[in-house]
Amino acid sequence: MSDPTLISPLADVGVPTAAAALDAAPSRSRFAWFTDMPRLVKVSAVWLMLVVFGAIYAKLDESVFGGALPLQDPNLQTNNFDVNTGEFGTGEPLEGISFNHWLGTDAIARDTFSRLVHGAWVSLIVAGVSAAFGVIIGGFIGSLVGYIRGRLETVAMAVIDVILAFPALVLLLALVSVFEVRSLGLISFVIGVLSIPAYTRVARANSLAISNREFVLAAQAIGTRRRQILFREIIPNVLPTLLAYAMVAAAFVVVVEGSLSFLGLSVQLPQSTWGNMINQARRDIKANIAQVLWPSLALTLTVLALNQVGDYFQRRSAVRQSSL
């Protein structure tokens, strides 16, 4: 009984039931989407879940529980003089791995593990917001113009071509430089808006293909209204591809935010991000490479995982599209 999908109340006594027959069908378990993954993709998915969990945990700790949860204060300089106890903290700058500081401390004796987990929140929000903007706005515009065509499509695609004619990072830098105060909301918003064109292109290409399918023609033939066709036929079929694309796009966005942070032009200090942790730690590269290594590893693994999972879902949605 190692195969969990065969567990059914009557399967043991060998009575063939409809339920057992259903259980044996290809999409047997509720977790089939996960158990069917190749091992590398599975590991990637687990890592992504860990990052998401860590980010939410850190945020909850900070804003709801006021630091009561077991995670150190990311901005506490552990060697500082404590007014309450009248003693200096026991921490030291650039410590190695220890029980107190799982990944050591940075140049001003802050706990690296805690900063890393808090940094995940920034990556999560930026990636999430850009995916939401892309899927909802880009997905809608792309599906719409791909279906109704005409002059609207020409105009929309011309605008998108122009925005995509800029090198992404340079355009982002120019836009970000407009603002003196850079909050997480602002950074996510700007990156989110800049994500829309690429999603629109993907959605339009898919919408074009789907618009010529039999079921769309059938719906048109029985006189379904165009609005209903768009929302019932086109968009539901564009969505899986778009969500798969969102994973790969998120990998790109995480790198872009990392680069921006690295340049000191993303969310402001003391908020830790993986990019600004790398930037701060690189000054002490002679003394301690580990402090550069941890945020680099977190960033790279997350990008790698997003690429793996995204590629996997893209392959699957491509297969499903061809059999559509």
Partner: protein, 317 residues
Amino acid sequence: MARVLGIRLLRLVATLFAVTFLSFLMTSLLPGDPAVAVLGVEGIQNEELLLEVREELGLNEPLPVRYANWLGRAVTGDLGESYINRGVPVAQTIQERIPVTAQLAVMAIVIAILLAIPLGVLGAYKESRWPDTFSSAFAQVALSVPNFITGIFLIWLFSVTLRWLPASNWTRLSDGVWGNFKTAIMPATALAMTQMAIFSRLVRSDMIATLQENFVLAAKAKGLTDRFILLRHALRPSSLSLMTILGINFGALLGGTVVIETLFAIPGLGFRLINAISQRDIMVIQGITVFIAVVYVVVNTLVDLLYAVVDPRIRRS
């Protein structure tokens, strides 16, 4: 061919207008008064002087007129003067710094192609066997490491630990080829790795398709060696996608130079842009952004055209 050329050129001009207008609009929306930036502290007190400078900078005109004026000057190579370093024309700054950035970009592309072709060909030749698995995995990882991380670890290895290469102090090409090479090789490699990964995946998949073609079978039947077939017969038809992606990825490369130039303190366009952003030097930000966007658009069009020249199927359609 002439018609294709005409349409492409028309599109190029339209895109250039849009791109320049967008850059102009963006920097015109910057909060703060450029006149105050020009005059500094004394300007805030002297209302009359402020008005005078505003008039002089043409800030009182409506936006479309300002754009037309600015564009008229821009096409003659006048991109205005830096607000911070008074009297230094933006065009001069760009002119001084462009060789550095161009050198980095070209070196990065050359390194990326030199690494990607063997890796991709090997992957296709040994498809689904361990050399393929190895080269694909390597490409996957290289694709996922952001270039500034590659850069830092290169510095750590070659500058800090081995002490072979300098981590900063850019040497200009005119100050010695070898010295220049020593300062350029690390940043160029850091820039190249992501591109290398993308290129090698493309070469691999194109090569796999080419190896199924009849002319490859014919070459095998003639008894030519695998090596000869791979490099002399199959490589050229397998490099078409590579060329298109070269144009598309050029933008990502230009974006990458901003980060890498900052990391290695290289006096190129990107590093200047970052400085201008931190000093809020609007004219320099505007000038460099427009310049990079225009170069990118022109390069993309050129690659498109080159593609049409190489591939007869596109030339005809």
